[in-house]
Subunit: 424 residues, 2 copies
């Protein structure tokens, strides 16, 4: 296999033999693991498509090691991906960890030449999406994720940063444009024409897919979003904030895998999360059985969506009150309390609209694009799956095209309930 | 004087003695000038506030040399300014020259270490603002400047560039954040509170200045624009496109001095130009005399404003038809001619609104902020000047706050005529 050109001199994929020797030279890692490299056990636990992921255990503790591979393999395709995404992930984790302590894995060591990152091993956490498919509730989740989003987005926006400091960070994250391009294609473009790698539940959804490809209003709306995604440097966003990027226990929540991070529109993160909650809500009708009815779980999912947005809103506005140190809406101009309240209402209303629009785009891509969600994919009966998917598409289109008709998150979750009753 | 920290090793200001020896080693410059360095004449023609500017003449031709100084001196203030602005200017001139050939000075040589740029000497051009104060018409101007704006903005936008190529250029221009900060403060912030370096025609405009500082709608509108300026990387903009940055003859037009260039909202350029035409229009009543009435010149100025926007609009849309190669509004989605027309109408309508908003902000800063225009400053009688300025402020506020009520450029120029009749 020939390697892409941007591979740094000295890059080599590590393995179970070479990794302990490498880690043995890093004081911070030795301290976590304890003992000697010879006593450390190493297990490769990644799926090998994109990254190597090792769990390394020593007498005193364990770490997770993530090393980027120069290729992405997915559904038979293979294309080069820059190793710098590992550096981007570590930069993002460090920023997020500073602003939202305890909500991302701790970074122990970063090695850009090897495209390698040593971080806290999360256990007994599981991927939240898997827990949600099994109808597990997470009582602390709304509180945690609303804090994560409010703090990481606020503190990297023009409300908290000076324009100069922000531009220096924007420049750093501009190198991540190849990962941005994946999003631009897979989310904002491919589902809206007959792209080669699209797939959907066929023939059940052939009509729905064709209707979306012929929907001028929708194509304009999603293309406007794509322009926002490409040109609006509102804040440092995670870039892939779905329930597969969140690891949870009953009491703990951690956001992982910010390889797609860059300065983009905040609504892309808040919308991704909302989309994935709504997808899970609709998918439950495909998982429900007599012994495992899902109505009460579905209620929990929608309540969670309401709570996440409302707490996010309040926390973001609270941070604005207490930590406004950026160049946007400067205090010297906004001394009048009523005017300040008006500015914040407008800002949050716009962010709410962005959230719904991006959520709609995220829902559609998971049903008509290349990469699907196991929430839906694990529904074996295609007729049953298609009903759930059709409901997702219906609400998604409404969120994207009729955004302004939703005045509150409760309007959105009420619409989800209504679609479930009436579509399918 | 101590030097700022970002001064590159090897930087030294050149003078009439050291410059010819330096230029003698550059083949492209020797070729233009002809003869030997000993025969070249050198004159320093800058005002010494910001940059050294030399005219160097040889037997076969002449060049202009611009070297950045590490400080800006203005109205008694002095603050460090990065020398990298000279590199930014050369990068911008090269890009603009590629997209709009013949409308910027040709670059002969760039030397980042010395913060020095050798370019075509423009003669017998004069600064357009001076010509307009003297009521000189420029019959080719609307045609030229509309081409400059359409081509430089279109070809550096997401309509023409791929997102990845654009992000690489965005990163380069992010270093110019200190010059952006000057704009952020002087245009979008200071006129709206009692900033120390504000000035205005006093006491005549004390009431108008106070009204603007108390105008909540206006402060929200201008602060929204500031956020756009800080975070929207729509295209590579000139960043200071007023009539003082344009050199003209009867038949030639050149845009100079893109030191403030960066990836920002297009409307900031198109708005700057419109603002400066409107300011000149209102200022003419302060210059009119019995021997030099200005009514017909004022008519020419407003006709020019109409023509500039309308041609810009048509050329921009024409480029979109012929040279669309960027990632925005991809052809694979927009195969239907009616839908394409709709997308373009929406895009141009938004750009028109941005143009008016930024024009309003630009007009206000020239009357209430630190840096004023000689169009108005050269009106000696303060009562007479204040009448012109009050009309500018009146229209400017309307452009910023009631943007959507203007449906065409003819609405704007009609409003200018109406304000001239009714305010004062």
């Amino acid at each position: 296999m020939s390697l892409p050109s941007q591979i740094p001199e000295g890059y080599r994929p590590l393995d179970s033999k070479t990794l302990p020797r490498y880690l043995g030279d890093i004081a911070s890692v030795r301290e976590v693991l304890g003992g000697q490299p010879d006593n450390w056990s190493v297990a490769e636990v990644g799926d090998g498509n994109l990254n190597l992921v090792f769990v390394v255990e020593g007498p005193s503790g364990a770490v997770c090691v993530k090393q980027a591979l120069p290729y992405l393999r997915l559904v038979g395709d293979s294309w080069p991906l820059p190793l710098s995404r590992n550096f981007i992930e570590s930069e993002a984790l460090i920023v997020q960890g500073r602003h939202a302590p305890g909500l991302v894995p701790k970074v122990h060591h970063v090695e850009p030449t090897l495209a390698l990152l040593v971080m806290e091993l999360l256990r007994p956490h599981i991927i939240m999406r898997k827990g949600m498919i099994a109808a597990t509730t997470y009582p602390r989740f709304a509180e945690h994720i609303s804090t994560f989003m409010a703090r990481t987005l606020f503190f990297t926006s023009d409300l908290a940063m000076t324009a100069g400091a922000k531009k220096e960070r924007i420049a750093t994250f501009c190198i991540n444009h190849e990962l941005c391009k994946i999003t631009e294609d897979l989310i904002f473009t491919n589902p809206y024409y007959l792209a080669e790698n699209n797939r959907w539940t066929s023939p059940q959804l052939d009509d729905a897919a064709a209707a979306i490809r012929a929907d001028g209003d929708l194509k304009i709306a999603v293309s406007d979003l794509k322009v926002r995604f490409m040109s609006d440097t509102q804040a440092l966003i995670h870039g892939d904030l779905h329930t597969g990027s969140i690891m949870v226990t009953d009491s703990d929540t951690r956001v992982i895998d910010p390889e797609f991070a860059f300065f983009g529109p905040m609504g892309f993160d808040t919308g991704a999360l909302l989309a994935n909650l709504l997808i899970n809500y609709f998918s439950q009708d495909g998982h429900a059985t007599t012994v495992s009815p899902r109505e009460s779980y579905q209620a929990w999912v929608l309540e969670t969506a309401d709570t996440v947005w409302n707490r996010f809103h309040d926390k973001f506005v609270g941070l604005w009150s207490e930590h406004h140190s950026g160049d946007a809406y400067p205090d010297v101009l906004f001394t009048d309390a009523d005017l300040v309240a008006r500015v914040r209402r407008r800002y949050m209303r716009k962010l709410f609209g962005d959230t719904l629009s991006f959520a709609g785009a995220k829902m559609i891509r998971r049903i008509l694009g290349l990469a699907h969600n196991i929430d839906l994919e694990h529904i074996e009966d295609p007729d049953r799956r298609a009903v759930c998917e059709r409901r997702c598409l219906h609400l998604a289109r409404d969120l994207l095209v009729n955004t302004a008709t939703f005045r509150s998150i409760e309007d959105v979750t009420a619409a989800a309930r209504a679609v479930r009753e009436s579509v399918g």
